[in-house]
Symmetry: C2
Subunit: 330 residues, 2 copies
């Protein structure tokens, strides 16, 4: 049975079955021309949209349906995290090939709903349509933040230190492993999991915002190299990243090195890490509170500079221009 065999109404019902009950601030939910949502008092709205497409952002041959649903929401939660926003509402717009198995549809929705429940983001509406093209999932996420606590890419100043959460290159290494392995990988492969089920750093974003610990922040959906350049450009600073300090673990290094070339360059040019990169004033006490409460490793990886170049400092002291980032677009 495929999604082409059932009505739109039936598919919507299957989505609704998996969703948590709507909270009281959802005044009108799924089923009307639009949703009506009461804004949070003394907060501003944070809104973002991101799409994942079969053959562009994932490969259905490698990524199980549950992970597709997870990814479609995770990329958006990661954007909210980068702004320091608390997730509230989501709109789920799916373009479905008629031959998509109904069980795959169910699993996509299940993966989406599980992550939504974990971060208390409520699906208030969406859209379903068929497509003659590939599976395409467009998610709009809406969060809220106190106006003065919103994190942007713009506030870094020369002398600010650069931090990154978690580990870098794990998703790229995981994808390389998935591609190499003929059979489907077990859930026990940590690298594959890093690629398949990226964990958006929502809690860390909130900690940074509430403690006003970061001068600028962004997520690393297109890799650290790209992020370093984007944040530097937006803030009008340069950046020197210390290659030896990068949290690229042994397993990632070996997996990426096995493909030939420089494993550090591969790690920072690989996409899909969804870690947060942020800048902070040197020795700021605000960061201590964040470090104490954060669940993920935070690593100081560099410093912002007056000179506008974005530079990778190798362990031997050599300075290189930052390699290009991961280009989803091209």
């Amino acid at each position: 049975m495929t999604v082409g065999d059932v009505t739109e109404r039936e598919l919507i019902a299957r989505i609704q079955q998996r969703l948590a009950p709507a909270p009281d601030w959802v005044l009108v939910g799924i089923g009307d021309d639009a949703a009506v949502v009461r804004p949070e008092r003394n907060r501003v709205d944070v809104v973002t949209v991101d799409a994942v497409i079969d053959g562009v952002h994932f490969d259905r041959a490698l990524v199980p349906p549950e992970a597709i649903g997870h990814r479609a929401l995770a990329v958006n939660l990661s954007d909210l995290a980068a702004m320091g926003a608390a997730p509230r509402a989501a709109l789920l717009s799916m373009a479905l090939p008629a031959r998509l198995p109904l069980t795959d549809f169910e699993q996509i929705v299940a993966g989406f709903a599980a992550l939504a429940a974990r971060h208390r983001i409520h699906v208030v509406g969406g859209n379903l349509t068929h497509t003659p093209g590939p599976l395409t999932i467009d998610v709009t996420a809406i969060g809220s933040v106190k106006r003065r606590q919103a994190l942007t890419r713009r506030g870094a100043r020369p002398g600010d230190e650069v931090y990154v959460s978690g580990r870098i290159g794990a998703a790229a290494a995981g994808l390389a492993r998935l591609r190499a392995s003929a059979s489907a990988p077990g859930a026990t492969d940590g690298l594959a999991t890093a690629y398949l089920f990226p964990e958006p750093r929502v809690r860390l974003g909130l900690l940074l915002a509430r403690n006003r610990a970061a001068t600028a922040c962004m997520d690393l959906s297109d890799g650290l190299a790209d992020g370093a350049r984007q944040l530097s450009d937006a803030s009008g600073v340069g950046m020197t990243i210390d290659a030896a300090a990068l949290p690229v673990d042994e397993e990632t290094r070996e997996t990426l090195a096995a493909r030939g070339g420089d494993s550090i360059a591969a790690a920072i040019s690989g996409g899909d890490d969804y870690e947060l990169m942020f800048t902070a004033r040197p020795r700021t006490p605000r960061l201590k509170t964040v470090v104490r409460h954060a669940r993920e490793r935070l690593t100081r990886i560099g410093v912002c500079t007056e000179a506008r170049d974005v530079v990778l400092a190798r362990a031997d002291g050599a300075l290189e221009p930052m390699p290009p980032g991961y280009a989803h677009f091209q």
Copy 2:
């Protein structure tokens, strides 16, 4: 030159060139991980998403690029109108085939931007990606309304009168003409224009909301037959629609009749009209104010009934079950 020949940044720059400057309530606009928007005081947020896909919702062979951009926003503005909401912010997510000519991209954006400017809806963010599939445009629209003025599909009661704006079936007739004509139609063809550049009834939605004139409201994106059933279902009433009262003009009738079959059934089963259907208490003085200020014709076409059937009453007195609506989905 195609969109595949230029960078994502270049395409974003071309979009930004066509947009009006952001108002002061857009605290962070295009270019960060997400947009930050100050909610309107004493209003609730109204949010909706809708996608248009080449080969499903339009045919690039018949619809010029400017009309594609117009449509992508119009379908969402129509949803806001149906809720009585004032448009505020939009997110524009486009999945582009690499071979889409750059001039087509520019014209799509121009069509979108022109309608956005007319309704003062501001593009605060979005997403661009390539797709191996058809051109897909996903638009999220955000509006605002006073909580007690929000229109829904749920408030109709037995005895309420049913109204519709504008004319019915014109879009279906326009599409039939476009399909029939070998050459591209001139802008002078009113029916073709009704299909290509549907006018969302934003002002009418606001009038209905502010005057509290409607007990229920929805838009007719999937045709009047579908709308009558949806609104009846949501409100828990039935409906009798008077076929002779339907605003199907002569030109529409002739064009649809030329295809064979019943032109009234074709008019109410055709999609893409984007008129508003609403219900009102009989003889309510609130509606007079709306009629006086509305720019489009408002026609009383039926009545809500206690019995749950949705019925079409023919001129000769015969009662028929409402024919099926237009199914974008299947």
